[in-house]
Amino acid sequence: MSESYDEIMQLLCDRLSSMTNSSVQVTADTNLISQLSIDSIKLLNLIMEIEDTFDVSIPINALADVQTVRQLADLVQKIKSAS
């Protein structure tokens, strides 16, 4: 049930690599906007997958402070541990 932080990070990196299909090596420091060009449809898909995989609900206001993969992983971790 409780994925470790590393597992969350690994899953995000894997999903993002296949989703963006780019040459960029996705790491914790990868910028979702400038390096991966996540558009609004990809973002919605990603949120849906995160919510279904981790059984959480991502508050939309929190995304305003997310720019890197690490910030996204921190967010998921934070929500998971609160639920």
């Binding site: 906007i33 973002l43 849906m48 206001n61 305003a64 910030q71």
Partner: protein, 606 residues
């Protein structure tokens, strides 16, 4: 990072406290106990006083399709009146503005009506939807707070932090807080006065610009006039109607069409938050199916999302045969989008004759034209070459010639007139393409506190220049192109000027040296192009500027864009030195050899 963490605590506590204690909620019924009145009121509060005598109202659903709260009109009236008496504690002059971040919640609706009971003017502000948008979002809020000279600003726990940041140092603001915070004020024993039809009912902001936000002033009279047209002529609302909506409350179609129109006809509505729809669009269709809803509106983009996400297994549980009016508006309608949707959902009982294309804009409250109920989407095939060469529409004679298909958006609401004019303002005859102008009682009185923009939009005789391009045929309006100053990407309206402003905030970019516009590819997908006159020569500096601009545009508007750096004096200017977006776009298209992209007629950049 710590700021993210602390801010997160708030929404979480709220989300989990919200669960009602095991008590089963029942949605408000479709059939009312009250005789239906179709917007026969002079003000919003008198409409609510009437609706409150019945048993219908608003229902709010969560992402999983569970009913989370209900707000019957009866309860809305009580809560709004009490809240109005609390607002009197601020001792504000009549007509003072109240800014509300409008998430899809009962609290927003209560406060909106409380403002009207207290003689105050509410306006809805958007919620932040883009990755990394924090700083830019706060800037946009601040622009609206300053332009409206708002006295009070309210947001729920999820968003109040942004609002506090935005209002720091803004003159006029007396109080910033949450709906819960407002409830701590005592309800004063003040007699509530009725409003006058000439008073401003609310403001509708149409742009996130920080320099020139435009808050459309809608009076009670204009609102009721538009609502009457919508519910009597456009939709022919009946007692057995029920609506379902995911449209944001901060958009005119969401607010006027799916919050106010149902209330002034005393019908029930089922709401899904926009975010929840965007992630799981089928929840909207499930609501329609389950609650037997008859009226639901969407932008074409919403239909596209539904068609993209649906699986065969979803279809068997849906019965959309109840859906009699599927209103389509807010962006250019491509017949193909509707066809794909109808094909996907016909096995679930969706009737394509339910499609109801409409045309409108916030500057005319909401609606201008409606097509005929129950007739579906009617298109006209026209010859592309005569359209481009002569700006005249001819119906396609022979197969094989290049053609365009445009959607019939129907006729103006009663009491409204649409005319098509050329660049010099001369009225054009039918089948000739030009700027679309509207006249009638739904037209705004102006932009709040912004005479300059008002003058550009309102021509003599109170004709509203919509900025859109189209033609009339047998009295019906067809839109051939939206205004060049608004770019619509994935259902979002983005003002070109707002993008240019962002670019001009960069030290390398001088003012009037950035031009933004949209180009469409074959399947109708719009890409934003930002052309910058640039003096930088070093490759790394140029690349850094491009990356930074793309990131900023993304954070502000949630879309990717193409940035092209060109030498100074490349961008075409008018004789007065103003950049012409139309010419900039034509130039870009020629440089990049995009085919079939030349626009027919230049519209006035507003």
């Amino acid at each position: 990072m710590s700021s993210t963490i602390t801010k997160l605590n708030a929404p979480l506590t709220q989300a989990f406290d919200f669960q009602p204690s095991g008590e089963q909620l029942t949605p408000t019924p479709t059939l009312n106990t009250l005789t239906q009145q179709l917007a026969g009121f002079d003000t919003l509060t008198s409409a609510l006083e009437y609706a409150a005598e019945g048993i219908t109202g608003y229902n709010f659903y969560d992402a999983r399709g569970n009913l989370r709260s209900i707000l019957p009109y009866r309860l809305l009236k009580q809560n709004a009146r009490t809240l109005a008496q609390r607002l009197f504690g601020f001792n504000l002059p009549r007509g003072s503005r109240v800014a509300i971040i409008a998430d899809t919640s009962p609290e927003f609706v209560e406060l909106f009506f409380a403002c009207r009971y207290a003689g105050l003017v509410p306006f809805a502000m958007p919620i932040p939807v883009n990755l990394g948008s924090h700083a830019i979002y706060v800037q946009q809020l601040r622009g609206m707070l300053e332009s409206s000279q708002a006295s009070i600003a309210v947001a729920n726990l999820d968003y109040v932090g942004f609002l506090e940041e935005a209002s720091a140092g803004v003159a006029n603001i007396h109080w910033v807080g949450t709906p819960g915070g407002l409830n701590d004020f005592p309800a004063l024993d003040v007699e509530l006065q009725s409003n006058h039809p000439d008073e401003t009912a609310y403001l509708q902001f149409t742009s996130g610009s920080t320099k020139t936000p435009r808050g459309v002033i809608i009076t009670e009279r204009a609102l009721m006039c538009n609502l009457q047209g919508i519910v009597r002529n456009g939709l022919e609302i009946k007692p057995e109607d029920r609506s379902a909506s995911w449209l944001p409350f901060y958009h005119d179609m969401g607010l006027v069409g799916l919050v106010l129109a149902p209330m002034v006809t005393q019908i029930s509505v089922d709401y899904l938050a926009t975010r929840d729809f965007a992630i799981r669009p089928l929840q909207w269709l499930r609501l329609i199916s389950r609650n037997r809803c008859t009226i639901a509106f969407s932008q074409p983009f919403g239909l596209k999302l539904c068609a993209m996400r649906v699986r065969e297994s979803d279809l068997k549980d849906l019965d959309l045969s109840c859906w009699r009016a599927a209103g389509i508006g807010a962006e250019m309608i491509r017949p193909e989008t509707l066809r794909i949707f109808a094909e996907k959902f016909s096995s679930a009982g969706f009737n394509e004759n339910a499609f109801l294309p409409c045309y409108g804009l916030a500057e005319s409250t909401l609606a201008v034209t409606f097509s005929k109920l129950g007739k579906g989407c009617k298109g006209i095939h026209v010859d592309s070459k005569t359209l481009i060469d002569k700006r005249v529409v001819t119906r396609l004679q022979a197969d094989g010639r290049k053609q365009n298909e445009f959607v019939n958006c129907g006729r103006p609401l009663p009491g409204h007139v649409v005319k098509i004019v050329d660049e010099d303002g001369n009225q054009l005859s039918e089948m000739m393409v030009g700027s679309v102008l509207v006249q009638g009682d739904s037209v705004m009185t102006g932009y709040f506190n912004n005479p300059e923009e008002t003058d550009k939009a309102l021509k003599s005789g109170n004709w509203l220049d919509t900025g859109d391009i189209g033609f009339l045929f047998e009295g019906d309006l067809f839109i051939t192109g939206r205004r060049t100053d608004v770019i619509i990407v994935n259902g979002r309206n983005i003002r070109a000027q707002d993008i240019e402003e962002l670019a001009e905030q960069q030290p390398e970019v001088r003012s009037r040296e950035a031009s933004a516009f949209g180009v469409n590819d074959e399947d109708g997908t719009t890409t934003i192009v930002l052309v910058i006159e640039c003096r930088l020569t070093a490759v790394t500096e140029r690349q850094s500027l491009i990356t930074r601009l793309q990131q900023l545009v993304y954070m502000a508007f949630g879309v990717n864009c193409v940035v092209e750096l060109v030498p100074p004096h490349t961008l075409p200017r008018t004789s007065s030195g103003k950049l012409s977006r139309f010419a900039a776009r034509q130039g870009y298209i020629q440089r990049t050899n995009l085919t079939g992209q030349l626009t027919f007629v230049e519209s006035a950049d507003r």
